[in-house]
């Protein structure tokens, strides 16, 4: 088969993996080799769906032995199959890298016969790159559940980041939709890798040249909307993964119907993009803003708000804590104000050392005043001319799209693309907005 055709098939087969980050490793170039890695990561292009293209994201082979219902590469699906030879893929990576098309390689694969066999083939690619071509760019490798720990270890020593996809947010859904995978088989490599990474961080303190095991850490991904788990369940799970396995990222992937299946949403179901977006917003709150999953949601309110982002929603449910005096509030308090991000909170702390802050200064610091003005006092005073009507405040909390939807639906709810269940969610969300106490 022609290389162009292979690349088309195997790139297409890999595109449902959300992660394309190249961050987490800082590695300088060195003479006699090619490549370097940038701690913040570098995006090289953006695809038509707006997702970053940083790595050459391909499968080594899509001839998979498994039969997972949600997966386009399932054994029983009739799609063209292709496989790269290790040499072919390594050469392609180097040629793309040399032209600055990519930051490195994201290597995943369907299960070629057995997990061990697949892992060995992946190791072969990475060894050509690292040892023969002395490639110092970024490599993200997928750990294949069920592979021997020795092989996983070998992969981890060659790659920057490792990941194993948790796929479904609960083991019941996993059993139902991915008969060849079990929760245990997925968590075992995750657990193994987190131990190696921790062990490695201790070794590196003692021996500067200790071989590095996945220096950019590990991540995982789960599919949203293919199974009935609630947002609360998903957030609790993510929080658990961050705490227990020290993951760098948990990615969410809105389910795009790829194969008809009685247990899955139908082919005309749009991917639940707004839900994925909300989950990422909540994920950021867990990682950078000091929130717990239990503060954002609970068993009774298990879905993230359709109109408000999780931070605004939290703040409005806790109006009693506001307004805060911006010149005295602690870092933790500032982080919880809508309109103040991690950066601007830090800048406020820096700037108020020089002199007390004014409203004008806050704006220059980068605080989104549209939202923050309702939650702050500056030198003991409200912002002059603050508009205090409920609808003005609520509109300020929403993005343009949410505001449009809110206004469109006020009066009567009619959006044909929504499911009945979702319509109910929107209705109750609307009722909640009308009764929330305001921080005024």
């Amino acid at each position: 088969m022609e290389l162009n055709e292979k690349l088309r098939i195997l790139g297409d087969a890999a595109k449902y993996d959300a992660a394309c980050t190249s961050s987490g490793t800082d590695r300088k170039g060195s003479r006699g080799s090619m490549g370097s890695a940038h701690a913040s990561g570098i995006c090289h292009s953006f695809a038509g769906d707006g997702r970053c293209i940083s790595l050459l994201k391909v499968l080594l082979s899509n001839a998979c032995a498994y039969d997972c219902a949600y997966c386009v590469n399932r054994r029983s699906n009739d799609v063209p199959r292709a496989s790269f030879t290790p040499r072919e893929l390594a050469d392609l990576t180097m040629q793309f890298y040399r032209r600055n098309y990519i930051e490195g390689l994201f290597l995943s694969s369907g299960v070629i016969g057995t997990p061990d066999n697949t892992c060995e083939k992946m190791i072969a690619v990475l060894r050509i790159l690292r040892e023969e071509y002395r490639f110092r760019g970024y490599i993200h490798a997928k750990a294949i559940p069920g592979a021997d720990p020795i092989l996983i270890r070998h992969l981890g020593l060659l790659a920057d980041r490792m990941s194993v996809n948790i796929e479904m947010p609960s083991s019941a859904s996993l059993t139902r939709l991915a008969p060849n995978k079990t929760k245990k088989a997925i968590l075992a490599p995750m657990d193994y890798m987190s131990q190696r990474i921790e062990e490695n961080s201790r070794d590196l303190v003692r021996y500067r040249h200790a071989p590095k095991f996945a220096p950019a850490g590990q991540s995982t991904q789960m599919i949203i909307g293919a199974s009935p788990e609630t947002d609360y369940h998903i957030l609790k799970l993510s929080e658990g993964l961050y705490r227990r396995y020290g993951l760098k990222r948990v990615f969410f992937s809105a389910y795009v119907p790829v194969v008809p299946h009685p247990l899955l949403p139908g082919a005309d179901t749009p991917p639940p993009l707004w839900r994925e977006h909300r989950l990422y917003q909540a994920d950021w709150l867990l990682r950078f803003y000091g929130f717990d999953a239990d503060e954002l949601l609970d068993e009774e309110h298990a879905a993230l708000h359709p109109y408000l982002d999780p931070k605004c929603h939290w703040a409005l449910r806790h109006s009693g804590l506001f307004p805060l005096e911006v010149n005295r509030a602690s870092h933790e308090e500032l982080l919880r104000v809508p309109g103040i991000g991690a950066k601007s909170a830090w800048r406020i702390l820096q700037a108020r050392r020089a002199c007390p802050l004014s409203w004008d200064a806050l704006e220059k610091i980068g605080v989104v005043m549209k939202r923050a003005q309702y939650f702050l006092l500056c030198r003991g005073k409200r912002k002059p001319g603050l508009e205090t009507r409920r609808n003005t405040l609520l509109a300020a909390m929403m993005s343009e799209r949410e505001r449009k939807r809110y206004l469109l639906e006020s009066g009567e709810v009619q959006q044909l693309s929504l499911f009945e269940q979702e319509t109910a969610t929107f209705l109750s969300a609307r009722r909640e907005l009308e009764s929330l106490p305001l921080p005024l």
Binding site: N4, R8, R31, H38, F46, G48, R98, R134, R347
Partner: protein
């Protein structure tokens, strides 16, 4: 202080601008305009020509970290590379305030001049970061060649990045807007003026890889999630014309299997002197 309309004209170099600062202090005067060498003057009385004198420039340059701090020193140097309109006046105004207030100035969150300069520097750094990803090299006779059209003068950032990333390659990046080029060969680089540069059409191997990259670019999109606005926000259209994935498809030809072989570099002979990095800037 003399407040009549006064213009300075300098040679467009950073040292030249420092001499303007020197002049402004020596003569106790505040120019309302600082013109580059080619700028058209609007001032009726003609602009005062400021000659660049290294000793004076050094005096000003040394005084910045001593009196206003290293943070201000970095800010001024970076601000000079930005595309901020009337950046020279803004830098002069910032330095005058800095000499007055000392290092505290960096904490003045509401200061208009500081705000304008930091925003401009952010813009510069963002553009430099984006271009580290968006640059596309074409390989002609084993030299990596790229053209860019940035608003800010980003070549110094790219020099450091690419000389480290491809230590054993020869490369040339041509900045169409500033008519400057970065040239690198192992292990030295230089940024030189270049009026015009036109790359040769891609050879067969080059065209084949462009075609492969386009194939990948098209395959990786999840079509039901198409989002044009998001793509253009993250990757503004002004960068597209330099990028392979958006080039006219006529440039892409069929690929042959053997052309993909990658030849590793021969090992570098050990040299007596050890250096920390490959970039000799």
């Amino acid at each position: 202080m003399n407040q009549t309309a006064l213009s300075y004209r300098y040679d467009g170099t950073f040292d030249g601008l420092m001499c303007c600062v020197f002049e402004s202090y020596m003569k106790k005067e505040l120019p309302t305009e600082i013109l580059g060498p080619d700028a058209v003057e609007e001032n009726l009385f003609g602009a005062k020509n400021i000659l660049t004198n290294e000793a004076n420039a050094q005096r000003v340059l040394r005084s910045i970290p001593a009196k206003i701090g290293h943070e201000a020193y970095d800010l001024v140097q970076l601000a000079f590379l930005t595309c901020l309109p009337k950046k020279e006046l803004a830098i002069l105004s910032f330095l005058r305030q800095g000499y007055h207030y000392g290092p505290r100035i960096m904490g003045f969150a509401g200061n208009e001049t500081l705000y304008r300069l930091t925003e401009a520097v952010k813009h510069l750094q963002k553009e430099a970061h984006l271009l580290k990803g968006f640059i596309r090299f074409s390989i002609h006779q084993n030299v990596l060649i790229a053209a860019i059209g940035p608003k800010n003068f980003v070549l110094p950032f790219l020099a450091r990045h690419f000389s480290e990333r491809y230590p054993d390659e020869h490369l040339l990046i041509y900045d169409e807007n500033h008519h400057m080029a970065l040239v690198y060969r192992p292990y030295e680089s230089a940024i030189i003026p270049m009026d015009e540069f036109r790359a040769a059409p891609p050879d067969k191997e080059e065209a084949a890889f462009r075609a492969l990259w386009r194939t990948f670019y098209d395959a990786i999109e999840i079509k039901p999630r198409h989002n044009e606005k998001c793509r253009q926000t993250l990757m503004p259209k002004r960068y597209w014309k330099y990028m392979t994935e958006f080039a006219a498809s006529t440039e892409c030809v069929e690929i042959t299997q053997h052309s993909t072989a990658f030849r590793p570099h021969p090992p570098v002979p050990a040299t007596g002197k050890r250096r920390s990095g490959p970039h000799g800037l």
